[in-house]
Amino acid sequence: MTDFFGIPLPALFGQLVLGLVNGCFYAVLSLGLAVIFGMLNIINFAHGALYMVGAMLAWMILEYLGLGYWWSLLLAPLAVGLVGIAIERLLLRRLYQLDHLYGLLLTFGLALMIEGLFRDLYGVAGLPYAIPDELSGAIGLGFMFLPKYRAWVIFASLAVCLGTWYLIEKTRLGAYLRAATENPKLTQAFGINVPLLVMLTYGFGVGLAGLAGVLAAPTSQVGALMGSNLIITVFAVVVIGGMGSILGSVLTGLGLGLVEGLTKVVYPEASATVVFIIMAGVLMVRPAGLFGREK
C-alpha cells in the first residue's frame, strides 16, 4: 500500500469515484451479455455495436425528431430491443442446435455490418450530444467536483442493475426464465412458451446495451467506433465474473471500474491492460470465473 504514499487522499477518492462511473457502464453492458448468455448460450458479439446504435439513436431522436434526452432514454432502448428481437427471430433462432461458435460468428458479422453502415453514413469523427440542461453543472463533494451527469449515470445504472436482478431472481417471470435456462424441454412441457421467452430475453439484453449507449452519449463523442473500443473490456468483465452470472457480472463490472481507477492513479499507462491481467489471473485459479459455476 506504500504506493499510495505521496498521492493525496482527495485525488485518490476522485479517481475512485470516476472508476465507479466507468464501472457502471461495464456493469450494465456485461449484465446484458450475461442475461443473453445465460438464456440463449449465445456469446453476443454484436453487443458493442448495439450500444453504439443506442447512442446514435439518441442523437437521431434529437436531430430528426427534436425530442430530448429523456425521450431518448425511453425510445432508444426500445428500438434497439426491437432490432434485437428481429435479429433473434430471423437469424439467431436458426443456430441454437449448433455449436456456440456459430452464434459468436454470426453476431460478430452483424457487429461489423452495423458499424460499417454507421461509419459510411456518419464518418468516424463522431457527433456531439449535449448533456441535458437538468443535469449540467457539478456537485461539490469536498474532494472533487462531480458533474451531476456522472452522478446520474451511477444512480441510473445501479437502479437498472438492481431492477434486472429483482426481475430475474424474485418474480414469477424470472422463475420461468430460470427454469427455461435450466431445462427448456421440461419447461415447455409445462405449457410455457420458451421460444417467446428466449426472444424477449435477447431483446431485453440488447435493450440494456442500447440504454448504456444513451447514458454514454452525453459523455463522449457519438460515433461508429465507440462500441468496438469498449466491448473487449466488457467481455473480459463477463469472463472474470463468470459467464451467465447476473449478480457476478454487475459486481465484477463495478469492481473492475474501481481497479481501473486505481491503476490510473498509480500507473496510467497500464489502465487499459489491468483488466486483462486480472482476467488471466482469475482464469488460472477459477476457470469458471469468480461467480460462475462449473458445468
Binding site: L18, V21, V124, P128, S220, V265, P268, E269
Partner: protein, 403 residues
Amino acid sequence: MKTKCIALAVAASLPALALAQVSDNAVRIGVLTDMSGAYSDLSGAGAVEAAKMAIEDFKAKEKPGFAVELVSADHQNKADLSSNKAREWFDRDKVDVITELVTTSTALAVMKVAKEKNKLALISGAASTRITNEDCNDVTVHWTYDTYAVANGTAKAVVQQGGKSWYFITADYAFGHSLEKDSSGVVQANGGKVLGAVRHPFPGADFSSFLLKAQSSGAQVIGLANAGTDTMNSIKQAAEFGVTPKQSLAGLLMFITDIHALGLKTTQNMYLTEGFYWDLDAETRAWSKRYFERMKKMPTMIQAGMYSAVSHYLKAVKAVNSDDTQKVMAQMKKTPVNDFFARNGRIRDDGRMVHDMYLMHVKKPDDSKYAWDYYTVKQTIPAAEAFQPLSVSRCPLIRKSAS
C-alpha cells in the same frame, strides 16, 4: 545473346524516336491510407478523391504523353499491412509512388520499403518529425505538416498569451510522445514551464481521470498531445468536469473535421495550427468548393496536401520525361512549390516540404456566418520559421552534407 544485341540496338535508337522514358508509358500512384478507422475522416476517402482531382487536372491541363493511373487501399493503421501492400504494389503492380500514409508507424514502414525498391514515398497524413530526422531517406517527401510545426505554432502562441505553466495529456504511442517532446521544447524555449504529463492508452474513451490529474497539477494550460477522437473526448470531458474555463486547453494537433464534429460551442477560443484552411483566399475557396461538391465536406490540410503533392510529382515526371526515382526527386526538389495549398514551399534535403503555416483562432458560434466558417487567421508563420531548422536536424543526409 542475339536477342540482347537486338534489344541494345533498339534501345540505342530510342532517343532518336524521342519516346517517353516513363516505364511502360504509365505512371502509377498508390494511395495507402486509413479508409475505415480513427483517421478516415481527416484522411481516407477524401484523400483518395483529392489525388483523383490532381490527376484529372494534370491530364486536362498538361496533356501528358503517358497514362496516369491510381490505386488505393486501406492500411488499417497497421505497419505490417502497409509494408506488405507497398511490396505488392512496387513489385507486382509497377506502382511508382506511394502516398498519403496517415499514422506515423505506417509511414515509417513504407518509407523503408520505398528505399529498398528505390521508389518514392510522398507522405501527407503522418505527423512525427522522425520521418525527416532519425528515419529520413532520399526517396521520401513529408508534405503537409509535422509535430514540430503544429507544436511550434500553437504552443508558442499560447505561451506568449500568458499560458506559462503546462501539463500534458499524451497518447501513449510514438506520435503522442513525439508531439509532447516537440511541444515541451517550444514551451521551455519561450520561457514556459512543463509541470508534468500523463500518458493515456490509445485509443481511450474516458479521459476524466487524466483531466483530474491535470486539474490538480494547477497548470494554466493543458496540452493535448493526442489526435482525433481522443482529443475530442478530452475537450468535451474537460468542459464537463469544469477544467475549462479555469484552465485552458491547447489542442496540439487538430483538424477542421474535429472542430466540425465538436461544434464551436465547445471549441471556441482555442488556438490551433493548420497548414491549410479552405477559406484563406479566392484560390483556396475555388478548390475547396470543387472538393466539397464531391465529398460534401470541406477538406482537411491532409486532403488538400494530397492534391498538392500529387500535382507536384506529376509535373516533375513530365518535366524530366521519366519516372526514374532519382531524376524525379531531383526535379521536385529543384522546383519551388506554389499552389493553392502551399505558399513559399520547397523541399529540403531531409525530405521536409516547408511552406507557410497558419495559427488559427477558433471563432465564437455568433461570429460564424456560414457553414464551415470556423477560423480566424491569427498569424501566418513563414515557411522558414514554421518547421524545425536544419541546424538541429538529426537526419544523417543533412549531417553528411554539412560535414
